[in-house]
């Protein structure tokens, strides 16, 4: 495996972990949630594309398998460490300067609400580089622009290796605009998150 010291140090110094995923990412995110250290000491924000009106047990399933407290985001809730936050369906999730979540029901981006771009862009405004962002498998190009903004602010930006992703379009879109500092296989992502 090819994790260099730079990526490990910057991951360890991050106060926030952002994860964006769409088609083909669900199982991987589930396993990430399951394997995160109990004493992670970071806030984790997960944006998964999901359909509205489909009664979803994602939060329940994830919470049962996580060692860290996990919840669906409510408006104005303050982002805390050692908590995993899931973006609710049919809303965009933004982050305010005071470190609280703000929801938004404006137009879907890339047919998606929640949109990964919206959360990533908003995080790039407030997290001051102290953040690791991972963009996973997906069949559209949501998240690429947002990832670039995070990279430009000095955040550690990672995409799932397109060859490893069930749906390579989303990571590829990010690579195309040079938004990803690293491309890692799912095995490497797990290894990094364990350090």
């Amino acid at each position: 495996m090819s994790l260099d010291n730079n990526i490990i140090t910057r991951w360890q110094q991050s106060e926030y972990l952002l994860i964006g995923g769409s088609a083909g990412s669900f199982k991987l995110i589930f396993n990430i949630v399951k394997n995160l250290n109990a004493n992670l000491n970071k806030a984790v924000i997960i944006v998964i594309h999901r359909k509205k009106n489909f009664f979803s047990e994602i939060e329940k399933l994830f919470a049962e398998n996580s060692r860290i407290s996990l919840r669906e985001i409510t408006d104005k809730e303050v982002v805390n460490k050692n908590t995993i936050y899931i973006a609710p369906a049919n809303y965009h999730t933004l982050i305010e300067r005071d470190g609280s979540f703000a929801l938004d029901v404006s137009e879907a981006i890339w047919y998606s609400r929640p949109s990964i771009d919206v959360t990533f862009e908003s995080a790039s405004d407030v997290f001051d580089g102290k953040c690791t962002a991972i963009l996973l498998s997906g069949a559209n190009q949501d998240g690429a622009e947002g990832l670039l903004k995070l990279r430009n602010k000095g955040c550690l930006t990672i995409v799932q290796d397109p060859e490893d992703a069930e749906m390579p379009q989303m990571p590829l879109a990010a690579i195309e605009i040079d938004a990803a500092e690293y491309r890692l296989s799912s095995a490497e992502i797990f290894e990094l998150l364990k350090t």
């Binding site: 009106n53 404006s106 405004d125």
Partner: protein
Amino acid sequence: MNIEQEILSVQQLDELVDLIKKFHGFDFSSYSKASLKRRVLRIMQNKKQAFYDLKHVLVNNQAFFQEFLDEITVNVTEMFRDPSFYKALNNQVIPYLSTYQHIKVWSAGCSSGEESYSLAILLNEAGLRKKSFIYGTDINSEMLKEARKGIYSLKKIKSYAENYQFSGLKGSLTDHFTIMYDAATVHSELKHNTLFSIHNLVSDAIFNEFQLISCRNVFIYFESELQEKILELFYNSLAPLGFLCMGSKETIRSDKFKKKFKVINSKENIYQKIVS
């Protein structure tokens, strides 16, 4: 490292908010900044305006302001958005309301009227149309014009009909519309039960007493202090034991108002005014 030049700084956003208040009388100072910034950036990108261009047209071009207002106020709405909310309303609140002589409903932040008409349809199907009346209010006069027309594209109606099905209502959404070509118009009997008018939650006062206030996915655009101020307005506008409905991801955060409302449904955020 490629550090991108900030296109719209915090100070510049504040400057715009001040300017809009001064020149157009709309106060956005307690709006959630993350969302507001995103909306303003969108306008700047679409219009290819730099910050100073935007400032200039906002001061000098009155017609542009309406366009600006349409863009920064989020006017995305659906009929029967969150079908489970309408199901809860039907099961837990409508039976209670049906015992009243008159049911006055305030749909606050109604935009193009979808929520107001959803409530009108719900009341109609419960056999309460003749004794109910719905006031839809918004700050955007153009949106209110749309609401009064009650005309929606068939494409939208198709997605609303899906919501309606999930809400567990027995009829069919299209029973309430007249369909012509590619658009559907709300039946006039429902329109007779609605009144759409300008009201700014930030600055305007009580205008009636209601048995039900629905203000869903509006609070998300406001900072906490403003939310509390508007809760006060709602509390004072509700009849004793009246109901307040908020969006499913919104919640009463203020301790003062937590004590003044009873939770009827915690998942759908339906509350009832407690009389002390």
